[in-house]
Amino acid sequence: MEEVDQIKTRVVGIDIRETRTTYAVVDIRGEIIAQDYFNTLDYPELSDFVNALSERVLTLIEENGGFESVRSVGISSPSGNFITGCMENAANMPWKGVVPLAALLQDQLGMAVAVANDAHITALGEKAYGSAHGMKDFIVVSISHGGLGSCIFTNGQPHLGVNGFAGEVGHTCVQVDGRQCGCGRKGCLETYVSDKGLVKTAEELIAKSTEPTLLSDLEELNIRTITECCEKGDRVAIETFRQVGIMLGMGLANYASVINPEAIILTGDMMQAGKWLLKPMRQSFDEHVFHNIRGKVRLLVSILKEGERDVLGASALAWDVKEYSLFK
């Protein structure tokens, strides 16, 4: 119909991680029309990566509706800053310093591009399609990407802070002179509660343990394998998650005491541990949270699927950026 104006009903969501970059065409209802991925590490040079990603995205679009059907692009990136559109000093990525990701991709794609960090993206996804739908004041904590990130929503809007860096709960200090963190400091929550922190705690407990444990027989210590040992009743495995849960609960309690959200939503691979982590976490949370807030904050686990959440969130971000066209 030509008598009235139309909007474009699709966007592209891109999720850049240390090992894998995923990209998808997503429609207005959150249906993933088409999706593909490649190894980030195949492109240690930034310009090669940007070229490869752009080519692949354009191909996917051409095969699924064509260029005119896509409104804009949203990207989830470690240390992504929504305000500047840059990836800023990402500790685990091959490209260092301040990378103007949004501008580089906008030039190649000819479409508006927005960048945000994975915690912000996850929160957008949860608000649009997941556990935070209908909430205005909540926090999404994501334990993934080797670290611990979060995004605060107040009054229905993300609280990014004056420079766009708000939410770095993983780098709050929970133990003075504690474990060494990749960021340079000691005792960061992330050094206890991320997948790497989990493994370190497991190793410490294995070394200290006087009883035999299934963990020593494992080829690889990770969330899944340790959880399996818990299922089999292994005491050291259970204690590992208990200690991680205590630290997580305290970190979240401090968070809740200052922000007083309606809910805290947990996401990430760590949630596979289920009750082994969540029960001690809940107990520690209740012990440490300010009394007027005790019992008021809901602790939820994301209902979105792992493979989907980040591209869905990135697609939600795409809708937030103003449309751009080289051709006015």
Binding site: G161, V258, I259, N260, P261, E262, N292, I293
Partner: protein, 327 residues
């Protein structure tokens, strides 16, 4: 009545456990008239409300008349802005849940808003003080307790239930000092008045070194500060340790919120650089690296006696005008 102009004045009230102050304030923050009386004179809340309202009416009649006042803002410990009540205030003579805003509105016939001190201080600093022009900041109050208010997108963020900002009760030391709230290791147990005195006792017991503090019968943060000014090494160490923990707690806070600035108010801030220099150093050590060097530490310029009633006057502007008679 001038129908083409708004009312330019409000009343700001500050209720503390000892003194209740009330003032008429205009749109520019000029205090037209002010008076006070001891809160403790009225152990019964109905008596208190009646006395306060009578006094307010008296002050208003002497200064322009009733029709010049738009609304009333009240600062009180343990007040909840959303419900308009004082809720289980530990240090006040009146217990339980007290619907103060409604009680005052009934007696005065004007709209009344009530909020806790940290919220009110934040409003005052934003309107007239160190946070003017800022949209993202935190106002911290340090006195007998430690509280804060969070401002986001230019407005206060009270959280889902109205309790946001309880930084004093974040845990900075697992199994640390017991706190009046029932938990252990709360930031307040180290940085508020009693915590500073306890740190002084700890410092003095760790060493035999002489110190002016040992001669003081009842130590207070003020007296410890006086010792610092006289060069006393142990006194300086007391504030250094306090600053270190304060910086840690605030560093964590800033990593979560990424504010433009943290504004310090309250009696303890008079310790000046003895406290703030170690606090800033510790803060920069603990805050997330991308935020390092970006957050300003500012102290309020407003005078102690003014700050609370000015903030309460700002609160008054935020409540919708009330009239018994629907126009």
């Amino acid at each position: 009545m001038n129908k083409t102009a708004i009312k330019k004045r409000v009343v700001g009230v500050d209720i503390s456990s000892e003194l209740t102050t009330y003032a008429i304030v205009d749109v520019r923050g000029n205090i037209i008239a002010k008076d006070d009386f001891p809160t403790t004179d009225y152990p019964e809340v109905n008596g208190f409300v009646t006395a306060l309202c009578e006094r307010i009416v008296g002050l208003v009649e002497l200064n322009g008349g009733y029709e010049t006042i738009r609304s009333i803002g009240v600062s009180s410990p343990s007040a909840n802005f959303m419900t308009g009540c004082i809720v289980n205030a530990p240090n006040m003579p009146w217990k339980g849940v007290i619907p103060l805003a409604a009680m005052m509105r009934d007696q005065l016939g004007l709209a009344v808003a009530i909020a806790n001190n940290a919220h009110v201080v934040g409003l005052g600093e934003q309107a007239f003080g160190a946070a003017h022009g800022m949209r993202e900041f935190v106002a911290v109050t340090l006195g007998s307790g430690m509280g804060s208010s969070i401002f986001s997108e230019g407005e206060v963020n009270l959280g889902y239930d109205g309790h946001a900002g309880e930084i004093g009760h974040t845990c900075v030391q697992l199994n640390g000092r017991p706190c009046g709230c029932g938990n252990k290791g709360c930031l307040e147990a180290y940085t508020a008045a009693r915590g500073i005195v306890k740190t002084a006792e700890e410092v003095m017991s760790e060493t035999d070194e002489p110190s002016l503090m040992r001669n003081i019968e009842k130590l207070t943060p003020r007296k410890i500060y006086d010792c610092c000014e006289q060069g006393d090494k142990l006194a300086i160490e007391v504030f250094r340790r306090t600053g270190e923990i304060l910086g840690l707690g605030l560093g964590n806070y800033a990593s979560l919120l990424n504010p433009e600035a943290i504004i310090f108010t309250g009696g303890i801030v008079r310790a000046g650089h003895w406290l703030l220099d170690p606090a800033k150093q510790s803060f920069e050590e603990h805050v997330f690296h991308n935020i390092q060097g970006k957050v300003k530490f500012l102290t309020s310029d407003l005078s102690e006696s003014e700050r609370n009633v000015l903030g309460a006057s700002v609160l008054a502007w935020q409540v919708k005008e009330y009239s018994l008679f629907k126009e």
